[in-house]
Assembly symmetry: C2
């Protein structure tokens, strides 16, 4: 990934609309993670698969709604997410992409126009970035948004997904350090947003979900809990990438972790859930 | 459909557990609609399609989450809904089934064991029966549960589904007469249950959603609003059957309207949403 945008650009992108974030990614101006951008709008994880694996993957998502809450699916060969952002182009409108082949991460690129095929199907899955704004509005600090270029902490847990066809592997989780006095309210608030992964999967000891050392993130950046904080874990839309690696999926193209697609949906629009 | 069960059996089935309702359907003891049975558990609509149409239909459901909230999908050839009711058999555990071919309703049967094929995929979609119990607990009367053998009123609206592949057609809606003073609370309560169709689609004048005469139900039975009632309409899981008819789908097997599959999920289990 390239460096974070300058503070002025970052501030502007927090206040701006989804279409402007997407345009900045498309033009190449934006190559950073999207945490905190277009606040109040739903951000989404991307997974692109050949049509031959799409029905398996779709069953996988329905069986694992906490890590993989489905927002939109394109028709084969169509890169426009007509439900989530009519007119957008999933080949160019994210700041960075990853390419997995035969269970290996083989590339990270800024556009996938030259990789896109007529048999590709794109899936958009909700992202917990989407409720950061709700937590902030309720006075619950979000450590990963406190510094410029902040990133959320993502781990591989020992919780296993319910398999479907060739798709199987561990659930990836985000961790937010939450002040102990705010943990109950955090569960209440996040549980209202199932399309953003909903209620946490776990609260407290990382060892109970197979994380040996919080400082060793698998994706993103470590945000150390302060003495009054409790680590709280949510299912994460990086799970398909953990699955691509664990199950040796022949081909999957995704967003780069943290570099999300910003949809036109407001987080509080209940019609979308 | 055959006659309703005797009052004693009906009362027993309201209080009983989902597995007992399914066993009664399997043994042939139960052939009636399941309104009010196994109260507090999620009931589901069924649609069975050949694998060749399953990916199209799955995209259709994701694009139309209000009429088609996905609960479970089987692997091709497997009739056990492992998420919603491990051990159950979708070929026998519903009180009645309908068979659609080339856009025509061609049969209604009590079991589909002899129709099931290795390329069949079964979809379970949430049902608004599931929140009847919540409304009742909150003192909001449910007219269709007030008489033995009551049925909900189902109509074809003029709202069109977002198409996917061969699937296109109108949204089917249920109508409940709700006392005017309870309408706001009804919206609040039902909106908490997206897997049971969530918030209403419409409140009030049926003509606004293309229903000329409330007395002319397309499925189920008319429950006339009293002078203090307002008709409230929810998206309905009979929609796939309206689509089978409208789009001339080559083959679809469904539940008979009102004769639902009763899952093991409690309506308040947020892990499932």
């Amino acid at each position: 990934m390239t460096a974070s945008p300058a503070p002025d650009t970052r501030h502007a992108l927090q206040q701006t609309l989804p279409g402007d974030v997407r345009a900045a990614a498309r033009s190449g101006e934006l190559s950073s993670a999207t945490h905190g951008f277009a606040r109040g709008f739903v951000q989404a994880n991307l997974a692109i698969l050949p049509e031959s694996h799409a029905f398996d993957f779709l069953r996988f998502c329905v069986r694992n709604p906490k890590p993989c809450p489905l927002i939109d699916i394109t028709d084969p060969g169509r890169a426009e997410p007509r439900r989530a952002a009519p007119g957008a182009d999933l080949r160019t409108d994210l700041p960075a992409y990853r390419v997995y082949r035969d269970g290996q991460l083989v590339d990270e690129v800024r556009s996938i126009e030259n990789l896109w095929r007529d048999d590709h199907v794109a899936f958009l899955l909700g992202c917990s970035n989407s409720f950061d704004e709700i937590l902030l509005r309720n006075g619950i600090p979000q450590r990963h948004l406190e510094s410029a270029g902040g990133r959320i902490s993502v781990y591989e847990s020992n919780i296993q997904c319910e398999p479907a066809g060739i798709f199987r592997g561990p659930v990836a989780v985000t961790m937010r350090p939450i002040p102990a006095k705010d943990v109950v309210r955090t569960v209440e608030l996040s549980s209202r947003y199932p399309i953003a992964h909903g209620a946490p999967l776990h609260i407290g000891d990382p060892a109970e979900i197979g994380i040996a050392d919080l400082a060793q993130v698998k994706w993103g950046k470590f945000n150390p809990p302060s003495p009054d904080d409790v680590p709280v874990y949510w299912a994460c839309g990086v799970t398909p990438q953990a699955v691509a690696l664990a199950a040796g999926i022949p081909e999957m193209i995704t967003h780069a972790p943290g570099h999300m697609f910003v949809t036109d949906w407001r987080i509080d629009d209940q019609r979308k859930g």
